[in-house]
Amino acid sequence: MGLIALIGVDLLQLLVPRLIKRAVDGLTAGTATSALLGKLAAAVVGLALLIAGCRFVWRTLILGFSRLVERDIREWLFGHLLTLDRIFFGRHPVGATMALATNDLAAVQLAAGMGVVAAVDAVVMTIAAFGFMLYIHPRLALVTLLPMPLLAFATRVLSARVHQRFHKVQEQFSRLTEFARSTFTFIPLYKAFTQEEAQAVRFRRLGEDYVRYNLRLATVHGVLFPASGLAGNLSLLIVVVYGGGLTIAGAISTGDFVAFISYLLMLTWPMMALGWVFNLFQRGIISLERINEVLLARTSLPEITTSAPAHLAPVITLCDLSFTYPGQREVALHGVTVEFGQGITGIVGRTGAGKSTICQLIARLYPVADQMLLFGGHDVNTLDVAAIRGQIAYVPQEATIFSDTIAMNIALGNPAAGQAEIERAARAAAIHQEIIAMPDGYQTRVGEKGVNLSGGQRQRLALARALLLDRPVLLIDDGLAAVDLETEQRIVLALKEHLAGRTCLIVSHRLAPLQYADRILVFDGGRLVAAGSHGELLAQNSFYAAIYAFQRMEEEGEAGHAAA
């Protein structure tokens, strides 16, 4: 429908020069009458009205359609992204994925909208206008069009170069952006080490390169756009000389001559457009492929649709669990066998010992092999991921805070939670006092453009978020590292009460909070090397004892002081 309107516009437009021709011929021959002129003028206006109507229709339909497509793809893409796992996001930085949903999608939309319009327009106009020109005088038409393929060709070649140079400009621009970003991020460092001037000089150099690339791009642009005008003028010149000669020789009428010029002017744009449209489609297709690649990506976790058992006991069993992060060679966990039941289990070990890996596997962030990880006695690979996660409250190492109010951040897992519930969670996470001291209390906005939270506050907010859910399993994956000790003491004591009858895992570098644990597991190099209470471990495990001994060294001196 839109296309029909578009073709209609093109064809109707071609009639206008015919009318002009009749007027000019009539006037040249002296046969024109007022009535004829009136009729022709009225016809031009009538045609224009029709054209305007058709234009409105195609614009609304074709461009509107391309926007609808854009919306659908974007929604689809986003929905799909939400189902993808860590492995995917580890390989695709957020910035690049965002570019898909905006820049790439825009390229697709442009190709589907203006690209289609311009292509149809160019093809129909070229064929029709050329047809009319052929009809007037075949040889003149052919000769006139000589520069046109040249123009289309030049446009294509030059646009390819534009594309290439533009790419360089864009690259330099991201370098500039990245430089500014890192400078502003590290500003305290640069100030403390008086590197402001050095940074400014580096920035100037990057800027100079940016200018240079832009000038190189401008050279191509400077040729490309005037070139189209030049080619058009060249054709016009041919018409004037050759067509003029033909008119003088009486081979065509003056009206034909004028109409010919009109058709020629109509052709210039489609010829330029052809080169442009080609690039437009090319970019659209590349972008579509990139989007499609993401749409084809699948989560590596099993997608189980069968309903989960009504009740899942909060018991997690690791049976000879081994795990290697995708794309890495080093094994993260070597045959770990252990069961987590009610009560607090502490996990300690060096960086890279596999502590965090266990939490992430239990939270189903990465796939595991069959029969290695059981939840409530069921192999996790037979359970719906969402059903397992529904049993778990997770506090990650990096607390994610959304740009919203504090209340909404805490109530993330249950937006319907009342103020009382939110406050209870905040109290348990020892952050209530700080929240009410903020300008708008629980309604204070945090995140970008909101109040800046310290690392410890962020972690406690994430803890409150997890506690609000009151789920059977709580995983604290080194999620209190930035909280100072005095506060952490209070939190852990509060947790003790909060967690009656629940299963809780606390990963920590610090030994202090783990003293309250019912059991402590010691990991080293991806293996479970020891398990027991604090006292047992101290007596039996040399690694645990070594950490303790290191602290002990300092304590002894102090004991002396205390005694003195």
Binding site: V16, L19, I20, L27, A32, G38, L40, V44, A48, L49, A52, G64, R71, E75, T102, F173, A180, I187, K191, A192, Q195, E196, A198, F203, G207, V211, N214, L215, A218, H221, G222, P226, G229, L230, L234, V240, V241, G244, I248, R350, T351, A363, A386, R389, S403, E448, K449, G456, L469, A481, L485, E486, S508, H509, R510, L511, A512, F550, E554, E555
Partner: protein
């Protein structure tokens, strides 16, 4: 504001009067490049001339040689060739002028922008830390990149093309009047209609463009946040709700784009329709003029050509007005930044800092980061050259603030901070900071190699660097790295652990060998082996220097000659570790909490 807007706020709109001032300042940027601007203007005369002369030549050819049957055919042909020659000249001249115009404009525009960008960047680097802490980094980056880019777009593509277009329109009008004033007058009747239509449209277009830009920014902000936090959303089972919220943002954007389509759908065909009205007028009225013998056919043809040229710029108007709008908004934001003064006035008569001994004095210092938020209250203390001081206190007691004042990141509201008895306000911040080695809690790894990261712009001989590496206990790491000191670290390179970052921070200070060392100890948990290395690096760094350390670890406190205990911005106790413990005051309490753990019954120490 609806809940969960995910980080996007509407930017304010501009008032009329401010718009004018903005223009003046924007044009002011072009000042130093006025010669090039003039060249561009001259070239644009040439371009316009060439554009306008073409239809005129066609008319000449038609009237003089093609239609006039009075001349013999050979004369008519040779005349035709002469016109063709002129035509070719005009076409090539126009092409050349156009090319140079593009080049000159780009050079001018880029030079202006480079200058503005540089000025803005330098200006921002001079601003105080409080400024940086109050602003999201992304926003600041946008100022020196995208906002400048918007300005550039306006300078090159709009200002001059608008000038070109205006010149062309005027030229065409003049041409039309010269060719046939009666017909031109008739066409002039269309002008008010066109003007009203265009003005009305550009207002609509501006609003809808703004809405679209805002909508896209909102989509971006939403994506940025939800994709960054996708794991949390998944763990908390919020996928469905997030999708629904995204659909709302996406739908709003669609609505705006559809509105844009219908606005353009009316405007563009309407302009074309007026163009057709013009053609009809020319045929009708021009035809009558010809019949009356007052006009030639060539003039009619020329009229039709000029009409086409006349409508071309109008079609592009909407696009340009949107570019101008976004450039104005960017300009406003840039000036806002440029007008912002650093909270710290420069030293009026900066004193040259002689060789520093390393004595520090705080005299009755009171300071707050904002009105009503006093952090330090009447704090006085002195540090002798070579003395090691530990600052101890709960979070928010003012420890970090003391460091910030000493580095002159801020100036105190009352009281004086002195370095070797010179008031810091009489010194340039750079002069102070080059005497003080600062180790912050958070160690930033800047993009580059490990060597770059240690040296931070300083030149150090290889042997000295080797000593630095050893002193900072980094030799193990250097040996491990594939390219040693020249390994790219940080983002896009080898990641450094928290402990290794700490060691790097010591190396940075050792490479500068300052008289004074200021250290904000990290609270992050580090495994015990690295802990030992940090201890050794610290011993090396502190040796023989005046030092001020915010201590979190017992070993550090015990190393200090003197401990200053802060509570709510006041110094409450001072003395050695043993003295303070004996006092059974605030320090003893803090110590019990922070450095030992009596709850479990087994006395235990906390490691950093």
């Amino acid at each position: 504001m609806q809940p969960h807007s995910f980080g996007y706020f509407e930017e304010g709109h501009l008032g009329r009067g401010r718009e004018f001032r903005l223009w003046r300042r924007l044009i002011g940027f072009a000042g130093p490049y006025w010669i090039w601007v003039m060249v561009a203007v001259l070239l644009s005369f040439a371009v316009t001339g060439a554009t306008l002369v073409v239809p005129y030549l066609v008319r000449l050819a038609v009237d003089r040689y093609i239609v006039s049957s009075a001349l013999p055919a050979t004369d008519r042909l040779s005349g035709l060739f002469t016109v063709a020659g002129l035509f070719a000249l005009a076409a090539i001249g126009g092409f050349g002028a156009n090319f140079f115009q593009v080049k000159v404009l780009e050079r001018t525009g880029q030079s202006i922008m480079q200058q503005v960008r540089q000025r803005l960047f330098r200006h921002m680097l001079r601003l105080d830390l409080a400024f940086f802490q109050g602003q999201p980094t992304g926003k600041l980056v946008t100022r020196v990149t995208n906002d400048i880019q918007n300005l550039h777009e306006m300078f090159t593509s709009v200002i001059v093309t608008v000038f070109n277009d205006a010149l062309t329109l005027l030229g065409i009008l003049a041409m039309l009047f010269w060719l046939n004033w009666r017909l031109a007058l008739l066409l002039l009747l269309l002008l008010p209609l066109l003007l009203i239509h265009t003005l009305w449209f550009s207002r609509l277009a501006r609003d809808v463009f703004r809405a679209i830009r805002t909508g896209l920014a909102r989509i971006n902000a939403f994506l940025q946040e939800s994709l960054s936090g996708v794991t949390v959303l998944q763990l908390f089972g919020r996928e469905q709700e997030t999708r629904t919220r995204f659909a709302v943002v996406n739908e709003a954007y669609l609505a705006d784009t559809l509105r844009q389509i219908s606005i353009f759908g009316v405007f563009m065909p309407a302009v074309d329709f007026m163009n057709a009205l013009g053609i009809a007028g020319v045929i009708w009225s021009g035809g009558h003029e010809i019949m009356a013998g007052r006009m030639t056919i060539g003039t009619l043809v020329a009229f039709l050509s000029y009409l086409r040229l006349f409508f071309q710029p109008l079609r592009e108007l909407s696009q340009k007005s949107s570019v101008i709008q976004s450039a104005m908004a960017s300009g406003e934001r840039i000036f806002e930044l440029l007008d912002r003064d650093s909270a710290m006035p420069p030293a009026t008569a900066p004193r040259v800092l002689p060789a520093v001994r390393g004595a520090i004095a705080f005299e009755g210092v009171t300071f707050g980061y904002g009105p009503g938020k006093v952090v330090l209250r009447d704090v006085s203390f002195t540090v002798a050259p070579g003395e090691a001081i530990a600052l101890v206190g709960a979070t928010g007691s003012g420890k970090s603030t003391i460091i910030n004042l000493l580095e002159r990141f801020y100036d105190p509201q009352f009281g004086t901070v002195r370095l070797d008895s010179i008031d810091l306000r009489e010194l340039e911040p750079e002069a102070i900071r080059s005497q003080i080695g600062l180790i912050m809690q958070e160690v930033f790894v800047v993009p580059g190699t490990l060597r770059d990261n240690i040296l931070l712009g300083r030149e150090v001989a290889a042997a000295a660097l080797a000593r630095v590496v050893e002193g900072a206990q980094l030799q193990g790491l250097v040996a491990q790295l594939p390219a040693g000191l020249d390994t790219v670290v940080g983002e896009g390179g080898v990641g450094l652990s928290a402990g290794q970052r700490q060691l790097l921070a010591f190396a940075r200070v050792l490479a500068r060998d300052p008289r004074i060392l200021v250290l904000d100890e990290a609270t992050a948990n580090i495994d015990s082996e690295t802990e030992i290395m940090i201890d050794q690096a610290m011993a090396t760094a502190l040796a023989g220097r005046t030092s001020l350390v915010i201590a979190h670890r017992l070993s550090t406190v015990r190393r200090a000659h003197r401990i200053i205990v802060l509570d709510h911005g006041r110094i409450v106790e001072q003395g050695s570790h043993a003295e303070l413990l004996a006092q059974q005051g605030r320090y003893a309490h803090l110590h019990a909490l922070q450095f030992s753990n009596g709850i479990s019954g087994i006395p235990k120490k906390e490691e950093g």
